[in-house]
Symmetry: D2
Subunit: 214 residues, 4 copies
């Protein structure tokens, strides 16, 4: 199971969470930490696998205020989220951002709301997609109870386009049961956010969350 802890712009200590992520080991579990771009080097130094939360579709050039894929890679990022529900892109720009990220050596995980949208973004050739059912974003409703079909349909839509693509469950994951449910439904990974980033003790929280995977 692949886990990405999305720190968003939360009031949290990225180094503490990176240390937590690097301390947790479980068979077949890899944990990335999707940090603010300015924090990527510090996350790498703390021993974790840094991810970007977004990179710009544009590569090198006159692009003031962009988040350059090559720049986050240089500081250790291994992958990037794209098209998160809080950072939507046009189709043409998802396409260009996947290309910019891939050229810079980043894995790409493109988020989308529905199975049809998952099928759409899978056509653009990312390494992974993440289904974020809108009904689960920020609600605390567990995906296993609320919308198992949407996860199954998303996996099906993605695999129809690309049988080897990874599919993440990107919303509604906040308990060990949710991770177990995502795994049972066939997801290759999950996106975590506040359940770790806002935990009193991130290492403890992470260990508890992944316990069902051992």
């Amino acid at each position: 199971m692949r886990i990405i802890v999305n720190l968003k712009a939360y009031r949290c200590d990225p180094v503490e969470i990176a240390q937590a992520a690097s301390s947790v080991t479980a068979d077949g579990v890899s944990i990335g930490v999707a940090a603010q771009p300015a924090d990527i080097a510090a996350v790498a130094e703390a021993g974790a696998i840094p991810w970007a939360q977004h990179v710009s579709p544009s590569g090198h050039g006159s692009h003031t205020g962009s988040i350059l894929a090559n720049s986050v890679t240089r500081h250790g990022a291994k992958g990037t989220l794209l098209n998160h529900s809080e950072r939507r892109l046009t189709v043409a720009n998802i396409d260009r951002a996947i290309e910019a990220a891939t050229d810079a050596g980043l894995l790409t995980c493109v988020c989308a709301n529905t199975p049809a949208q998952i099928g759409a973004v899978a056509n653009l050739g990312p390494d992974a997609v993440a289904i974020e059912p809108p009904a689960l974003i920020g609600t605390g409703t567990p995906v296993s109870q609320a919308e198992p079909d949407i996860v199954l349909d998303a996996i099906d839509a993605a695999r129809t386009v690309d049988p080897s693509i990874d599919v993440y469950c990107g919303a509604g994951i906040s308990s060990p049961d949710d991770i177990a449910a995502a795994s049972d439904l066939g997801a290759d990974g999950v996106l975590l956010a506040s359940a770790v980033a806002k935990a009193e003790e991130p290492a403890t929280a992470l260990n508890e969350l992944i316990a069902p995977l051992n």
Copy 2:
């Protein structure tokens, strides 16, 4: 062959072009006129088939400055372009705009740059897609000479997703040869723009353009 004449924001007389479009008849040829929203009623009154150039993803509600699908339908629009290279949308908003347009009774034709992007937007369930190879946008380079493969690949990408979808050739069409080439490549339609909208005599221009189809 389906033809959509996109008037963009050109300095032109929409009524004159609508009259031209309604005067041209050829077997198996239908001609829509994609007009500014404020001009849709006038295009309908002139006897042509009005299309919108864009409708908003949002439906009824507090959306000041939107282009409401129901509003253009009420004045006679039969379809709408979406995601034109001059009016890009996020994946989620293309999805919502297709739904809003379809609910209002509009046909939808979603534009995209590359075969992969065509495959992507076809997943969202529009009635048609239009391939706009960037190398041809506004260049005057004819599609038949420049990039026949991109049209063939776009048709293939779209039909893999939905065998009954219509595929338009959306850039590089400015001569009778281009329309003939698009038809020979298997396109169901073409988007025309300045070749008609900026013509001295739109009716003459249209008749010449479609001559190879008779």
Copy 3:
């Protein structure tokens, strides 16, 4: 007192509201109806003064999906809102949209959230500004009770830049008392929305709202 009834994308009959607006007469009161672009001609035919809810910063040219100032003017629009809280623009685009609208013969009323922002947009030379205190948008809280100072400060900020500019109160207006309060505070106009657009009987609603002005 200048009144603009903003129909947004509400489920309403623009012609019925236009007729209501044209039937209401009171000394010193003018009523514009800010309609969907496709409805502007119908609003004009019903005898009301049409406004656009937004026009694009771009003028004539290759701008598919835009709302061309010249196009709404041609069908009778007399003015346009710009930068409404539901349709924000960059500073550069407000500047260009004011120019495009003015060149087309439209009055311009630029919305903003705070007195500082009102001072900012007043610098760009519109005919009018509208203060939309965020705390009042869509809440039903009357401006007279909630934030009289913000209206006074907005008027002050606008007049410091341009002593002859008109200042509208653009949120929190849903009762006769609100209009009276806006007038007492020195506003030259008010933006109305659901209080008229969603009224069972728009003419009755408008007459009641403006009663204090007689």
Copy 4:
């Protein structure tokens, strides 16, 4: 004279340029280096004064893909550009971004195209503004020859709103003569970009550029 070297997303070594900036000393000259967010810590470690090229209007919270002001500050940033011509913001978001940046301890320099727009953004209370005459952006045309009046008018517009605000000349600066001209016109600072970032030897380039200031 305050100098900000904007590295944009150029193919350059931010550390080499930071070392160049920290090695250059001249009376009354301060040099900031506006870097990609992921490079800010490295710029600080190299001894230069880091600036951000942009920070998000949103502060802490669920804002995936943002550039958090607190995050760049934590790694040493001292200021941020905002509303650069390559990264435009709405009026409301400039206002919020100034607040977010100021709360995080960053200086703010807001860019705009014309004297009227400079007056507009000055109303939002930044520490500095930068006039970027569109005719000079990326053209190599020196500001001293091309548009001296636009700089004088921008200074006047900014100082009318806030007598203590700093005014930068933000485009058309690529030679020692340009810096001298900007200084003679009354500018407090200049934005440099490719003239330093793309120089074979950034330290030499910087020393030559500021020679007239000694």
